[in-house]
């Protein structure tokens, strides 16, 4: 096999082909693959970030819920206490009012009793005088026996 131009033409072809392949195939393809690799890595990192954020949010949610539960219990407690107070107050006021009313009624009844007693006493005195008149068969001079009458009336 003698050395011929074919050998060198094929060598030059190979060299040119390497340059062209590097320019149009290897270069763009490795670029696009590197970009894709980066994008996938970024995506994974973002997913990791999101997962972390979600965890944090969950923790925060738990905290807020606990706080809210505590606050609700507190409010409930307060409300109960307040309700008890109101009931107690109402009960006290009702008792007070009842006592007042009963006292007033008692006073009214007392005064009525006194008045009736007075009236009764006067009636009795008159009746006694009338009885005495009958007994003595003589009209007792009212003016003469005023003192007697008073005395009877007073003793009744």
């Amino acid at each position: 096999m003698a050395i011929s131009l074919t050998l060198f033409v094929q060598m030059v072809t190979f060299a040119v082909l390497i340059v062209l392949v590097n320019r149009y195939l290897w270069g763009p393809l490795t670029d696009v693959m590197a970009r894709r690799r980066k994008r996938i890595a970024d995506g994974l990192a973002a997913a990791e970030e999101g997962r972390k954020a979600l965890d944090q949010a969950r923790e925060r949610e738990e905290e807020i819920l606990a706080l809210a539960r505590e606050r609700a219990a507190e409010l409930l407690d307060q409300a109960e206490r307040r309700a008890r107070e109101i009931i107690e107050e109402a009960r006290e006021r009702a008792a007070e009012e009842g006592a007042q009313i009963s006292a007033r009624l008692k006073a009214e009844a007392d005064s009525e009793i006194t008045r009736l007693r007075e009236a009764l006493r006067a009636d009795v005195a008159r009746l006694a005088l009338l009885g005495a008149e009958r007994v003595v068969e003589r009209e007792i001079d009212a003016r003469l026996h005023e003192r007697l009458l008073q005395d009877v009336a007073g003793r009744l």
Binding site: I3, T6, F14, L29
Partner: protein, 256 residues
């Protein structure tokens, strides 16, 4: 063998040659090599306008898988990242793969087409032509020399001829052995590819000599087997290219 068979074989094993002596040119090997090279570059050029950064489809997917495969081999063998070695190995693999695959065309297809244009000898497999394979191997050899000089300097490179493998006191033997070794590398690289493809072509030609009603059976079998050889030889050429370059780029002493 009958006269017909001999002339059939002879005519199919003769390149379309233009010119004489040193200035002779195998137009068929070069032309098909250029056509396949252009196919690779044009594919890349058309693909480059609509590369997808998302999920790759179709030919982009195939080329990305091949590129990654080649790149993995390069990274596995070559210690540092290198802007030349990747494209070199990738180009060698793709181009040789396509040129080898020309062997799968029916042996008479392209010669018959050529005959329509008044061309009497045409070989369709450029890698069955030793000029192509040795040209490739010589290119790799040149690249290895560049890496040798880059890693050791001119003097350091020349020194390796005298101190390996037996140390400086046996330098004449070292020189002869290293020269043989260095020459054997590209020669074996080129001749291995040539031998495999030439043998494949030869068997296809022999099968084509069988009667047509029988030829298809061994033809299918040999094509199936040859499919393996085509891929394997392209792969071996690529791997050895990377190995030789890596050995050349290694610091003195690491290479052996």
């Amino acid at each position: 063998m009958s006269n017909h068979a001999v002339s059939f074989m002879e005519s199919h094993l003769k390149n379309l040659t233009l010119g004489h002596g040193f200035w002779s040119v195998h137009a068929d090997s070069i032309g098909i090599g250029w056509a396949l090279g252009a196919a690779i570059v044009l594919t890349g050029w058309f693909l480059g306008r609509r590369l997808e950064e998302g999920v790759p489809h179709g030919i982009q997917n195939v080329l990305e898988a091949l590129l990654e495969f080649v790149d993995d081999q390069v990274k596995g063998i070559f210690p540092a990242t290198d802007p030349l070695l990747g494209p070199l190995a990738f180009t060698a693999f793709l181009w040789i793969l396509l040129m080898n695959a020309m062997d799968l065309l029916p042996v008479d297809l392209l010669p018959d087409v050529a005959r329509l244009f008044g061309i009497h000898h045409f070989r369709s497999t450029p890698t069955a032509d030793p000029y192509t394979t040795l040209g490739l191997a010589l290119s790799v050899f040149v690249v290895t020399i560049y890496y040798h000089i880059r890693s050791k300097g001119v003097f350091g490179y020349l020194k390796t001829f005298f101190v390996h493998p037996f140390g400086p006191y046996l330098f004449p033997i070292n020189f002869v052995m290293t020269v043989v070794e260095e020459i054997a590398k590209p020669l074996s690289l080129g001749l291995r590819l040539f031998g495999n493809m030439f043998a494949g072509e030869l068997v296809f030609l022999l099968i084509a000599l069988l009667p047509w009603w029988f030829a298809w059976a061994p033809g299918v079998l040999w094509a199936a087997f040859h499919l393996l050889v085509i891929t394997l030889q392209a792969f071996i050429f690529m791997i050895l290219t990377i190995m030789y370059v890596a050995m050349a780029a290694a610091e003195e002493g690491d290479a052996h």
